[in-house]
Amino acid sequence: MHKLKEILMLTDKGYSDLKKAIAACTLTNLSLMLPFIVTIQIFAELLKPLMGREISWTYMWIYLAGGIVSAILVFIASKNDYKKTYVTSYMEAEHTRISISEHIRKLPMSFFNSKDLSELTTNIMADCSTTEHVLSHVVPQLSANAISITIICALLAIFDWRLALSIFCTAPLALLIILGSKKYQNRLNEKYVEVKLKAADQVQEYLDGIKVIKACGLEGSRFSALDRALRLMKKMAVKMELGTGIFVTGAQMILQAGVGLTVFVGTHLLTGGRIELIPLLMFFVIVVRIYGPIVVEFTLLPELFYHRTATKRMRTLTTTPVMDGDTEKQLTSWNIDFENVSFSYNADNPQGNMAIKNLTVSIPQDAITALVGPSGCGKSTISRLIARFWDVNEGCVRIGGVDVKTLDPEHLMSYMSFVFQDVILFDDTVYNNIRIGDMEATEEQVMEAAKAACCHEFVENLPDGYQTMLGENAGALSGGERQRISIARALLKKAPIVLLDEATAFLDPENEVQIQQAISKLIEGKTVIVIAHRLRTVAGADKIIVLDEGELVEEGDHEALIRNKGLYEKLYRIQQETKGWSVAAS
């Protein structure tokens, strides 16, 4: 029984509520036996004259009254059962949803880069919905049926074990079929879920890429990837339905062969004089109804199996280790040191493709340090390692002498601001989107940051100013406007270390001047690490670190590197050449 708690990932309260729900459900099942008992009584009464005794109409009236009382009991029991199972399941599903969301926010950044967003969302929402369903419909009924079937079985055996045996002897065989095919059914199911997720992914992609799809004239089924995924899903669904249906149907037939068996055994017992008429009739009436609950068991059991796939998925989520560390330790200086750092995004095969190889480099405090190199050289990775989005495989990263591994990631974050290219804005007001930088900030401070980041003007032009709702992913704002909001956030945060992707400065060329001003404000007096693409922009940096394929190639300031005539000098030269390009009119 305790295993159930674990399988369903229940809380203590949920588990005890579930037990209550099962008890309530069992009670309902047993109460449903009452009409049957009354019916048998009426039978017996009706048969009296056949056995030479007088029928009592008074008794009949009493049975009616008894029947009405038992009906009221059924009502009370099922009402109690209804309330208990549903409320329990919804409360428990709520708890699961919350605790999963809670867990998600503690997961390391790396987790979100390696997982599909749509898959994660499916995880929370769909799996919690199945939990809801399993708890409200499957588990209580399954358990209650099992309990009441056992009780009924025992009662019948007391009456007549031979007939009870002939009723129930087919059940183990049928159960064997169900359990035996479980593996096969599971496999079908897993395959189906996989196909379904794939289809959901394709749908998402179709929606995200709708502009390209329109432009390429690939509407609907002409976009073959979606069409294929949907077709495959159709095929797998039919296959799964058939695959599971056949076993369930077969098991049902075998189970109910007990009807024929009971009639056979019963009539033989009767003619042999080894059973009374009334008990036999009782068995006959029972035998056509008894299998109902067992069949229900057979249909519920696969649902429980099915749910295990969902809990398995949820468990991978909840067992993903969270990054932890000291939440109190204060950093007091900001020079950053990489010591023999090696790192690979591929945790399973770190030797395969290292993003950073044995890097030892230092980034001075209160200075601007630029990371330079061809794309894929590892410059973004370095900034991610500083922020502990990932943990290094070897070596260590220190800030002010403290190994970042020893610090709680969120605590570490409080010392850093980020301005990257992919700005994520929330479906909330502009004001709240800026205030994310510092939830304690006053309105004046928010405004001030907005002004410093050159947001104020365009925000004031929005229909409701700072209170304008941005909508999903803020489609109405230009890249530069979004970028400036993110800079305002960073300004508000006032973190001593600023990590910055220089390309952001060029996202919105028309407003370049404003973004440049905003960035200049942001980096004032900070320890700044710039991922640089346009070398001219960082030529004035205090230190330039040149990387290639994850290794340090050169370091120094602009003049020194130019004199060095290495990779930096070459990149710089190429960029100078492309600077003045223009389309040529034919």
């Binding site: 009409p35 009426i42 039978f43 004259p49 056949l50 009236w61 029947g67 009906a71 009502f75 209804y82 919804y90 919350i98 950044m109 749509s118 969302t121 995200d208 709708i210 502009k211 390209v212 329109k214 390429c216 004239g217 509407e219 976009f223 949907l230 899903m233 669904a237 339905e241 056949i246 149907t249 009807v259 009639v263 009539t267 004089g273 006959f284 009436v285 794309s375 894929g376 969120e410 974050m413 290219q421 929330f426 994310i436 930088g437 999903e472 956030r489 919105d508 028309e510 001047v513 440049q516 960035i519 200049s520 693409h533 922009t537 960082v538 004035g540 990149l571 492309t578 600077k579 009119a585």
Partner: protein, 607 residues
């Protein structure tokens, strides 16, 4: 066909609409329904057979030696046969209905996807992908349940009572009537439960809170990296938390609103025999033939419980129905969004010059015009650049040419023909695009490029890739052109993605090119290559170039300057500079920013 959807007859709603959807696979559905009805009828067989056995035994009483054992056993097998028949027919019915259901699902989804691509693009900007995704993944999905399970069950539960009523009334109408009173009482409870307005309203709230919770989840996960960076996970978590709590707050009263009805229903259908007892007593007191009376009474007592199985099915059918209807309505609401109208008599363009004539346009739900009264001419085989401050309307121009939106006023003509007088498909073939926001699909690079022209041979794709300066980096990837975008370990830089998008446009080889140069600068290492790719793409085409960086277009044949949705200047670079207007200002500013440097001196960085 295309016109039909916009002018369809009065749309069906509710169950009628569901039936309409189900009818897509008519033969299968009909077979399923018939089989299911037969199965329901077969479900009565065991009860009747057992009755005959009981009568057989009672007839032999008290000397069971005289019992016709063969006959009794035969009825036993009939009972078993009835069960097998019921199971088998039902299984077959479900197989048919599932085939129909999954087939219908596929068609609904495909049709929905098609529709989404046919509505003006602005719709997507407004609605957001989360909601649409939910409709496809969940709402439409639920229709499966209706077609696969509920429809056969509904029909069975309509046929079964008819057969049941017939049996009930034929054997003895007095008992029959008593039993029917019980069944009708159960039906009335059902009707009351579902006719209740409160439940409907709660249903609505429940659906809304479910949707809200889904949206919150999407937003929560999408934004998690940011909130982590700002140590604000509590903030966004709180929203998620509220949405979850709100859902529970809605769903519990909604569910509990059924509590009494459901319990009453369960009670009544399991106690229909209670209606028989008074009838039995009244009949029995005055009966002349007691044996016949007792037999009939026993028949009813045995038969009536079989009603509960059938009636329970009806209940499940009803309770699921409402939810599905809500989902279908959501789907239909989107399907009712008008598609971009297509011309009755499509024309084809004569030449490729693009003319904007007094074009005004405003995005839905926005007061300010994105373009007002814009007129200009982009000559065939020339490069026309559109420049101006962001929000000036440049991208809108790009979006109007391929009819992602239709103009509010004025017209856009290509080769002398209004774009609205051409079929979308035809128009799309004539125009190639490179957008600012490059989107690559999680498919092989080959397929991604081929999107531009489905009929292109591998060689053509590779030639285009070479022209777009992709070939070199693609060859370095593990699976070369078969490398699937988005697989672990495959990372393309912004510039590389941009070049694939250019290759896509090159392989399309459309006479008109609309392009957006912005992102080139996100990846200066590749700038040179992108410039080469652009040159290949634009050769001998009519080009509309949305330019963000003035130096890029200073050699264009014509430069159109837009500000706040209005055309304020046009001419060549030199003409515009000479004029000393807006363009001149922009150019001056631009040359300044070029020299910006990040340095410790911070704000004083402009050298």
């Amino acid at each position: 066909m295309k016109q039909k959807n916009t002018t369809a007859a009065k749309p069906k709603t509710g169950v009628a609409r569901l039936m309409e959807l189900a009818a897509t696979k008519k033969p299968l559905i009909i077979t399923a329904v018939i089989l299911s009805a037969l199965a329901a009828v077969a479900s009565f067989i065991p009860h009747i057979a057992i009755y005959y056995i009981v009568m057989e035994i009672m007839g032999a009483y008290p000397d069971f030696g005289g019992l016709d054992l063969q006959r009794a056993l035969a009825f036993g097998w009939i009972a078993f046969g009835g069960i097998v028949l019921n199971i088998l027919l039902y299984f077959l019915a479900l197989m048919c209905s599932h085939l129909a259901a999954f087939g219908t699902l596929y068609e609904l989804k495909a049709n929905f996807a098609l529709h989404l691509a046919r509505v003006p693009l602005g719709f997507h900007v407004l609605v957001g992908s989360g909601k649409l995704r939910k409709i496809i993944d969940e709402n439409i999905e639920k229709i499966e349940g209706f077609i696969a399970h509920q429809l056969p069950d509904i029909v069975a539960s309509l046929v079964a009572p008819v057969v049941m009523f017939a049996i009930l009334l034929i054997v003895d109408w007095r008992f029959g009537l008593a039993a029917i009173v019980g069944i009708v009482a159960a039906f009335l409870i059902q009707a009351k439960a579902y006719g209740n307005e409160g439940a409907r309203a709660k249903m609505e709230q429940y659906q809304n809170s479910l949707e809200e919770m889904n949206n919150a989840a999407v937003e929560y996960i999408r934004g998690i990296t940011v909130v982590k960076a700002f140590k604000q996970t509590v903030y966004s978590f709180r929203r998620m938390h509220t949405a979850i709590k709100e859902y529970t707050r809605m769903v519990i009263p909604y569910t509990l609103s059924w509590e009494n009805y459901m319990s009453a229903f369960t009670t009544v259908i399991n106690n229909i025999y209670l209606f028989l007892i008074p009838a039995g007593i009244l009949i029995g007191i005055n009966t002349a033939d007691y044996t016949a009376f007792a037999g009939t009474f026993i028949f009813y007592l045995i038969f009536v419980p079989s009603i509960s199985t059938v009636m329970m099915k009806i209940m499940y059918v009803m309770s699921g129905g409402l939810q599905i209807l809500g989902g279908v309505e959501r789907m239909d609401n989107i399907l009712r969004q008008p598609r971009l109208p297509q011309p009755q008599v499509p024309s084809t363009m004569q030449g490729h010059e693009i003319v904007f004539e007094n074009v005004s346009f405003s995005y839905a739900n926005q007061e300010v015009d994105a373009l007002s009264d814009v007129s200009f001419r982009a000559e065939e085989n020339e490069i026309t650049a559109i420049v101006g401050p962001s929000g000036g309307g440049k991208s809108t121009v790009a979006h109007l040419i391929p009819r992602f939106f239709d103009v509010t006023e004025g017209s856009i003509k290509i080769g002398g023909v209004d774009v609205r007088h051409m079929e979308s498909e035809y128009l799309m073939k004539q125009v190639g695009f490179v957008f600012q926001d490059v989107f690559l699909f999680k498919q092989s690079i080959m397929d991604n490029i081929r999107l531009g022209n489905q009929n292109a041979a591998d060689e053509q794709v590779i030639a285009a890739a070479k022209a777009a300066q992709c070939h070199e980096f693609v060859e370095k990837l593990p699976d070369k052109y078969q490398t699937v975008i988005g697989t672990a370990g495959i990372h393309l830089s912004g510039g590389e993605q941009q070049r694939i998008a250019i290759a896509r446009a090159i392989v399309k080889d459309a006479p008109i090119i609309v392009l957006d140069e912005a992102t080139a600068f996100a990846d200066p290492e590749n700038e040179y290559l992108i410039q080469r790719a652009f040159e290949k793409l634009m050769r001998r085409k009519t080009v509309i170039m949305i330019a963000h960086r003035l130096s890029t277009v200073r050699n264009a044949n014509k430069i159109v300057v837009l500000d706040k949705g209005r055309l304020i200047e046009e001419g060549s670079h030199d003409e515009l500079l000479a004029r000393g207007g807006k363009y001149f200002d922009m150019w001056t500013m631009y040359t300044q920013t070029l020299d910006w440097k990040m340095s410790r001196k911070g704000a004083a960085a402009h050298a």
